[in-house]
């Protein structure tokens, strides 16, 4: 791709031009800037990405703090509040917006009267923990196989290639759904505590098991070009071990695509948890996750629209903010955006 003016524009990047002008007119001291700082400077210029960073940080803080708040008794996802429900209407919450009040800002659940905000906050913790673990494992598997395939080449490369073909040919949704019975069964036999632990662990395992091929392909492609560079030859000549070459020489050059990919996997896995929960796989009520809180709200579309809508909106907010963050990171880290 040629570097034309329109190209620079397409990355929403006027910083590059600014900096160059500054340097030419000698307004700033010319100092070496690391690629990371350049990327951060580009990222900071983009208001949408910054907003996404703020929102995702808030979600992360919420996820970290809700177990603490739960222990302190500030949020309480389990206690039913029958007194807030109107028996005459069939146990729907009294008052406006599904029983909104200062002590229950998002109202209470119809039927049981548990606090909706508490359930969503604690559910977000579990959903984000599942998504985070699955995304970390996916990226780890993909990176290791990608580096090994790309660097070794030959028979190892084609073996990994076939493994990728095999994994991608499986109908993913059906496999995630269908394997739950057998795999949960086997894991319980192996001594994983039944209930939320085994079901949550199952989601992490299958999402990673079927999610790694795209990133392995991506990393393999990158490694193919990196391994031809002089510093790798130098390391080989100096007798560096394979492990050193993989992790000390090659891996540090891959963090940009890995970071972007990881950020985009998070929302995909939050959605996947919700979808699997709808199909009856995953952590079950009463332990809240975003997926099963939404699943429990689906039947109230007519009677308590607010309760029906809020869990889905929270999921959408997480998905959108993480996606925008990933896009922003990609634009900022893209070497084509000028360095």
């Amino acid at each position: 791709m040629t570097l034309t003016a329109s190209n620079l524009e397409s990355h929403g990047d006027d910083h590059f031009v600014d900096a160059e002008e500054d340097e030419r007119s000698g307004k700033v001291d010319v100092e070496g800037r690391s690629p990371l700082r350049l990327a951060w400077a580009r990222f900071r210029k983009d208001k949408l990405s910054m907003a996404a960073l703020v929102v995702t940080t808030l979600f992360a803080l919420m996820a970290i703090s809700s177990p603490i708040l739960k222990r302190l008794g500030v949020i309480d996802p389990y206690t039913p509040h029958q007194d807030l429900l109107d028996y005459a209407t069939g146990n729907y919450p009294k008052g406006f917006g599904g029983g909104m009040s200062w002590s229950h800002p998002l109202g209470v659940e119809p039927g049981l009267g548990r606090d909706v905000l508490s359930r969503l906050m604690y559910g977000a913790t579990l959903s984000l923990t599942i998504a985070l673990s699955a995304a970390l494992i996916t990226v780890a598997i993909g990176t290791i196989l990608g580096i090994i395939a790309g660097f070794t080449g030959g028979i190892v490369d084609s073996a990994v290639g076939r493994l990728i073909d095999l994994t991608l040919s499986f109908p993913a949704t059906l496999m995630l759904l269908a394997l739950s019975g057998v795999v949960v069964d086997r894991m319980t036999d192996l001594g994983v505590p039944a209930g939320a632990t085994v079901n949550g662990l199952y989601i992490v395992i299958v999402l990673s098991a079927f999610g790694w091929p795209p990133i392995a392909r991506l990393i393999r492609g990158q490694v193919l070009s990196i391994r031809e560079r002089e510093f790798v030859d130098a390391a080989i000549l100096m007798g560096a071990s394979r492990r050193r070459i993989y992790f000390k020489e090659i891996l540090p050059n891959l963090w940009a695509p890995l970071l972007v990919y990881f950020t985009l996997l998070m929302p995909a896995y939050v959605s996947a948890e919700a979808a699997l929960s709808y199909l009856g796989v995953g952590i079950k009520n009463p332990t809240p996750t975003l997926g099963n809180v939404l699943g429990g709200a689906l039947e109230y579309a007519y009677t308590d629209f607010f309760f029906f809508f809020v869990p889905a909106a929270v999921i959408a907010a997480i998905v959108i903010s993480f996606n925008l963050l990933g896009d922003g990171a990609r634009d900022a880290l893209d070497p084509k955006a000028g360095r």
Partner: protein
């Protein structure tokens, strides 16, 4: 090209064979007692044992796979046990060549079950495909042409919004409000295309939109990015410079370049859907292959699950080959080797 096709077909078949072994081990050997699911929670040990032998789970997984493979190549009769077949000859079910197994839950060969449901899933997939391709390409081009302006931001923003909400939520929203409460469209229901094409369309519209929305956001963004990238190429500038109208430059020169990657991606996405969209079919209660597989999972009907998994895998493998060949047809620069 011929040699290439042959080579791809052979490696595709090999891949399917390996997949069938892996699938068998995943489902039949992962659980220590697969019969527990078929028998139910209150099964006594004797009943468990009977179930195990009746379903053939007592044999080693590789033997069970061998029977499956033999049945696929040469056909097979059910029940498996010869003594049972002799005892009740009127209940023997013939499963001709290409046999994918026998569902004990439905007491029917897997092929028959899938054959009944496939038209529904294929109809749904194709109508969704038409919507998401037409919508994705048109909106993507529009967004690219109005880059940075309000229209562009609205298209990209709304498509992200539609993508962010869970599919089943959007489906239920459409079903419960557009169809039931407001009655704008008829209740989604599958009817045969040959019976009444109009009913076929009106019954499919909401599920197809729901399914299309999942893919639309991605296609809008891809088309937009491809168009923008292509428009900054030198040959587009040349075309503009020699005085071609904007319409010709966009309609002919740009679209042509954008088409190639879109064909590849959409072909694979469509193939993945032909075998049923589990979530959409469940939401709208469409009795396609997706719903069938959902029921199979709930009943723990292992032969049915394995049969569907392998059929869907073969769709994807065939699509991969077809798309690679198409790629060479659309783009003469591509050489197959």
């Amino acid at each position: 090209m011929f040699a290439y096709t042959i080579r791809r077909v052979i490696s595709g078949i090999l891949l399917l064979v390996v997949m069938s072994v892996v699938t068998f081990y995943l489902f039949y050997a992962s659980s220590s007692t697969p019969e527990r699911f078929a028998c139910g929670p209150k099964c006594t040990p004797t009943q468990l044992d009977t179930t195990k032998r009746a379903l053939g789970y007592d044999e080693p997984t590789i033997v069970q796979w061998g029977k499956f493979a033999k049945g696929f190549v040469a056909g097979r009769e059910f029940p498996d046990d010869e003594k049972l077949r002799k005892a009740a000859p009127e209940q023997v079910v013939e499963c001709p060549r290409g046999c994918l197994g026998y569902s004990y839950g439905y007491s029917k060969p897997v092929n028959t079950l899938i054959k009944d449901k496939l038209p529904i899933s294929v109809s749904l997939a194709i109508s969704a495909f038409v919507i998401w391709i037409a919508g994705g390409v048109l909106l993507g081009i529009t967004a690219a042409l109005f880059k940075g302006r309000l229209i562009d931001k609205a298209i990209v923003g709304l498509s992200l919004l539609a993508f962010a909400f869970p599919t089943f939520f959007i489906g239920l929203l459409l079903l419960k409000f557009v169809a039931i409460r407001w009655g704008i469209v008829e209740l989604p229901k599958y009817s045969d295309f040959t019976d009444n094409p109009f009913l076929w369309v009106s019954g499919l519209i909401l599920p197809a939109i729901t399914l299309a929305l999942v893919y639309m956001a991605g296609y809008i963004r891809m088309t937009r990015a491809f168009v923008l990238e292509t428009m900054s190429e030198d040959y587009i500038r040349t075309a503009r410079a020699k005085g071609l109208t904007r319409r010709v430059v966009i309609g002919k020169h740009t679209l042509r370049a954008v088409l190639t990657p879109l064909v590849t991606l959409s072909g694979l996405d469509l193939a993945g859907l032909l075998g049923g969209a589990i979530i959409t079919e469940t939401v709208f209660n469409f009795n396609g292959v997706g719903k069938l597989s959902f029921t199979a999972v709930q009943r723990y009907d292992l032969p049915l699950i394995v049969g569907i998994v392998l059929l869907l895998a073969s769709f994807v493998i065939v699509a991969n080959i077809v798309v690679d060949l198409l790629y060479a047809v659309i783009d003469p620069r591509v050489r197959l080797g």
